[in-house]
Symmetry: C2
């Protein structure tokens, strides 16, 4: 059993229980609460909250209820982004995590509003759990126009745009903003919250950058390597829809090589830290290699 697996099996149920309990108790209107919880409780891997908590662990910070609140706030924000990405005006997806997407299940206005409710509530949980305006600055920058939403905009703007199909710089930037920024933000918040010194912080942020970049390549590979049953969503869609990503740029073999290199690089960044736990997160990617 790897270190990641142990950490995951301990903390995932705690995260899931917190999310379920607090969405039920902290949302006054039960109907919108149910729509929000439908997507949040659809069985994600809780990768970003686990990364946040693992970084605290790496830095020797004790994890209690306040830290779990911050971690779960990150998951609310991640879920909002999935709901909006799936909308008819965006990727127009019917399935996510093996279930109907929010707009397919509840209607389009309801899905937009469930996302619009999860984003500020996620930031609220981070602010209340941390009592730190610095963490709020990190998370809001990570998901704003110079982060996640900016990446989604580039994606929408470039879909079926032949002029960017071979532009590696553009594609790297788009993928980094879309996926990497929130992953980096999760690690950066933990480093600031735990009071890491600047050397520790630099190493962790460098690790997070590689991890975030690898995650996107991994996710693109899942689209072609896995059947939709395994992935819980429709696969083989990216090419069909004219999406430009690292995979369409490099092909499967070269993407796998790039992913292998990134994993080695990510691990090297952890030298000198108690980095065994974080390094073991990278084992997740083995299934597409």
């Amino acid at each position: 059993m790897t270190v990641f697996k142990e950490f995951q099996s301990h903390w995932t149920p705690i995260i899931n229980n917190y999310l379920e309990k607090h969405l039920a108790s902290e949302v006054d209107d039960k109907k919108i609460g149910k729509i929000m919880a439908y997507s949040v409780m659809a069985g994600g891997k809780r990768l970003r909250p686990l990364l946040f908590l693992s970084t605290l662990y790496t830095l020797g910070k004790k994890i209690g209820e306040q830290e779990v609140r911050i971690a779960c706030g990150i998951e609310l924000i991640h879920t909002y982004s999935l709901i909006h990405d799936d909308l008819p005006a965006m990727d127009n997806d019917n399935y996510r995590r093996g279930k109907l997407t929010s707009h397919k299940k509840w209607g389009e206005a309801e899905a937009i509003l469930a996302g619009d409710a999860l984003l500020p509530m996620g930031i609220q949980w981070i602010a209340e759990g941390s009592k730190s305006s610095q963490l709020v600055t990190i998370i809001t920058r990570a998901v704003g126009p110079n982060g996640m939403v900016g990446g989604q905009y580039l994606d929408i703007d470039s879909t079926n745009n032949a002029s960017v199909a071979g532009n590696a710089k553009f594609i790297n930037r788009m993928e980094w903003l879309k996926t990497g920024c929130l992953i980096e933000g999760s690690v950066k918040m933990a480093a600031v919250y735990a009071g890491a010194d600047s050397e520790q912080k630099d190493k962790l942020v460098a690790f997070a950058k590689d991890f975030g970049r690898s995650y996107q390549i991994y996710d693109d590979l899942v689209d072609v390597v896995e059947t939709s049953e395994e992935a819980g969503k429709e696969t083989h869609k990216d090419k069909e829809e004219g999406k430009n990503n690292t995979l369409t740029l490099l092909g499967i073999d070269q993407s796998r090589k790039e992913l292998t290199n990134l994993i080695d690089h990510a691990k090297a960044n952890l030298t000198g830290l108690n980095g065994q736990l974080l390094a073991s997160f990278l084992d997740l990617y083995k299934k597409v290699l």
Copy 2:
């Protein structure tokens, strides 16, 4: 010249300049920046930022660049809410503030993303301007599922629903959440930021509650009293679309009476404060009385 008019003519250009300059300099991608700025710079009254700054003034707090950053953060958030409310899946409006709505001008995905970018950036400005996680808690609660978005959800959920048409309690609650919460939040943030004592804070929050409630009745009256040219958006739409609001419940005359009562009540709450400036905000409503 009333006190409000003086305050407004001094601070509105400062707010507008700050918004224009910082949206241009702080959004990396010029295309999404332009889409965001299109709606932000469409000529709103800047009521919420002015209320925030006026409350600081009332409490004797000096206004500098950091305070203007917080005020402008509130306006970014307000603008996001307008863009999403206008979407085809929501109110499906073609005009706002005399211009095409964001989705009509730029496309639906672009409008959703411009809103999704303005919300976290607004919270970021508030966090950076105030360095206070408490202000972040106030604003995120005000616009989340138990605030503005919750009200928008009730509105969508109840449109063309005859069973709530005569339910004053439901309509009051919906209108309060939709409009009142962000107005109350603007005043509450100023009270906390300026270090108001608990008596001052209670009076200001009571004023904000009445002001927020009156604003919604005022806004509904604008829909029937003004021509669309005066209002800068399509009017006479609420009844046509089966919207339930105080006006459809009480009729025009009774709504005007309710508004007059609320104005008196709001003014009474300011007794004992240096409340002349805030009281003069209520003069705004005279044009529909």
